[in-house]
């Protein structure tokens, strides 16, 4: 995916200013930056929730596809269909639905039943429910959430909800997975589990991961590359080692600590 000169304004506030960024196939890219830097705005632009005023986001579904698909004028559901899934900073699950149903909804774009075949049930809908249930159960195993599969999501702990939200995004079988602070508010053990899941998803399922994260230890550990946003502009990108010693990055973070 190639993001080029992306600018997004809310009235007088410039959330993103001419941000250019490449997301490479198969990598884990961390996006970091102080509060209000525009990290979430960037993800929202990719998933079609925000409409940037300028710039382009090109997604290349296949390795040999030079042309790509422009995302900036597409609806969120079209972008999902292209194979881009995400989680949110403040968990956005279907609270009254069970864990199973949340994950099955993640299969929406892969299923075919319509009102008629669904209402009739026998035949297509039943067959399809069984098939996709098997896919979802595999994800439930992977995320180690078997005991809670029938519980309404709203009754679960924060850490488990984060995990279910990851599962729902995974059920979509995305090419690119966008994770907005997947470890925020977790204890060390939960963070370790989550980091392991993200690495497995990336390595075993070959999913490209874009990860917003404040915990520098985690970022340095698991990401292949890091991009830094500050006041809506990208100030650096590179390997974790390069970023750690980048003068502008140190300044941005020190500035924040002094403020």
């Amino acid at each position: 995916m190639a993001i080029q000169a992306l600018s997004l304004r809310f009235g007088g506030v410039a959330a993103l200013t001419r941000v250019s960024l490449e997301i490479r196939r198969g990598e884990i890219l961390a996006v970091i930056g102080p509060n209000g830097a525009g990290k979430t705005s960037l993800l929202n632009s990719i998933s079609g929730l925000y409409r940037p005023q300028e710039g382009s986001i090109r997604f290349f579904p296949a390795p040999d596809d030079e042309e790509g698909v422009e995302l900036t004028r597409r609806r969120p559901d079209e972008i999902a269909r292209l194979g881009i899934a995400r989680t949110f900073q403040n968990i956005e699950l279907f609270r009254h639905m069970t864990v199973l149903d949340n994950l099955l909804l993640g299969r929406h774009i892969h299923m075919r039943a319509n009102v008629l075949t669904g209402g009739i049930w026998w035949g297509l809908a039943q067959r399809e429910e069984i098939e996709h249930r098997a896919v979802v159960e595999e994800i439930i195993d992977f995320l180690e959430i078997e005991p809670i599969r029938r519980q309404p999501v709203g009754t679960l702990s924060y850490g488990l909800q984060k995990r279910v939200e990851l599962g729902r995004a995974l059920a979509l079988e995305p090419q690119i997975l966008l994770l907005d602070e997947p470890m925020a508010g977790m204890n060390v053990e939960e963070k370790e589990d989550m980091a392991r899941f993200i690495l497995d998803i990336n390595e075993e399922r070959g999913v490209t991961v874009v990860l917003i994260e404040h915990d520098m230890g985690v970022v340095m550990d698991i990401s292949d590359r890091v991009a830094v946003l500050d006041f809506g502009s990208k100030i650096a990108d590179g390997s974790p080692q390069e970023i750690r010693s980048h003068p502008d990055v140190i300044r941005a973070y020190l500035g924040q600590e002094h403020a």
Binding site: S47, G48, L49, R75, P76, D77, A80, R81, A85, R86, F88, E92, L93, F94, R95, H96, M97, D101, L104, L105, G106, H108, I109, M111, R112, A113, N114, V115, T117, G118, G119, I120, W121, A125, Q126, E128, E129, I130, R133, A134, E137, R168, L172
Partner: protein, 350 residues
């Protein structure tokens, strides 16, 4: 005590009634429903038929409001579309009910989808007002388009026949019982199936969190209109059945009061519950009848009570709605579930 139920396959896990207790209950209900009409007199048959039609309409409304979270005050108007379409097709062209009813359902679905367009922009109270506008517009058209609908005059529908069998005349209630029952069972199964498969799940997801649903690939535009259309299809069915069963269609039957009493049915029965829609329909249909009978029974004990019955009915109606909203927002369906849970653990239920 019932415990440790495991399912051998996903297929078994997906059935609507899985435990032995559920199967026995279903068999008992079916047995009652099949035997009832042979013992009931016309008064009770009429009540049963009214409950059947109301259940179909309530399931329709629940699809839209309870399951998809799109509040609608247009129920009366949509029923009117179904009733007038069926009634007019039968009177003008003499079409049989197996043609008029499906056409009425489809017409109502189309009208519902059109009036659902504002839901793409409006939510909650604002959508309620928009659907109220639908209600008023439809009734205005019905009462003013005299050339077609006959305006405020009653539309008299010829008695229906089905497979060469006359449904009207003596014993009409008994014969209609089976017709309405068949449609009610169809509606119930259809809705229950819908909500254990892809489209129904997407509708519930829209109710819970529309933006998250969209980001997971649900086309909000299409699915909201689909909710209006599917809901209206069944509401139109209730309207069409009313027209043929009553053999008379008047606009007064489809005012905002109708919309409100259907909302009461799904609130009392249980928002987002198919079986709850049926309980609510039965409750709201039986309430006035029960109060009437009570009033008559106490006529001699409490003088003047007969004249007060209409007021008492309104008071109880309002009181019950408030009671449910405060005490059990999930309705009778939830109460019934609690009872079942209690007995599931019996005798260790503490």
């Amino acid at each position: 005590m019932e415990s440790g139920i495991f399912f051998e396959s996903y297929r078994q896990d997906l059935t609507l009634r899985r435990t032995p207790a559920q199967k026995i209950r279903l068999a008992l209900v079916l047995a009652f429903v099949l035997v009832f009409p042979f013992f009931a007199d016309n008064y009770y048959l009429t009540l049963a038929n009214q409950i059947g039609i109301a259940a179909i309409g309530a399931i329709g409304l629940n699809i839209l409001t309870g399951f998809t979270g799109q509040i609608s005050l247009g129920q009366g108007g949509f029923m009117a579309v179904g009733a007038y379409t069926a009634g007019l097709l039968a009177t003008r062209w003499g079409l049989p009910i197996l043609v008029t009813i499906p056409l009425a359902c489809l017409t109502t679905a189309a009208v519902g989808a059109v009036f659902g367009i504002p839901s793409l922009r409006l939510k909650g109270l604002y959508l309620a007002i928009a659907t109220l506008a639908a209600q008023e517009i439809i009734l205005w058209v019905v009462t003013h388009w005299e050339a077609v609908t006959g305006g405020t005059d009653a539309l008299v529908v010829p008695p229906a026949t089905l497979f060469g069998l006359k449904l009207g005349g003596r014993g009409a209630d008994f014969r209609w019982y089976w017709v309405i029952l068949a449609f009610a069972i169809f509606t119930t199964l259809f809705a229950a199936n819908l909500f254990r498969s892809r489209v129904g799940r997407a509708l519930v997801a829209i109710r819970d969190h529309d933006i998250a649903a969209e980001v997971m690939g649900v086309n909000l535009f299409r699915y909201k209109l689909l909710a209006f259309a599917t809901s209206s299809f069944f509401v139109g069915l209730a309207g069409a059945l009313t027209a043929h069963y009553r053999t008379i269609v008047t606009w007064e039957r489809f005012t905002i009061e109708t919309s409100i009493s259907y909302l009461a049915m799904i609130i009392i029965g249980g928002l987002g519950s198919v079986s709850g829609s049926i309980y609510g329909a039965a409750f709201i249909t039986l309430l006035p009848a029960v109060l009437n009978n009570l009033g008559r029974a106490f006529r001699d004990v409490i003088p003047g009570i007969a004249g007060l019955i209409p007021q008492i009915q309104l008071g109880v109606f309002g009181g019950v709605i408030i009671l449910f909203l405060i005490k059990e927002p999930e309705g009778i369906a939830k109460l019934w579930k609690d009872v079942k849970d209690y007995f599931r653990l019996w005798p260790f239920s503490y």
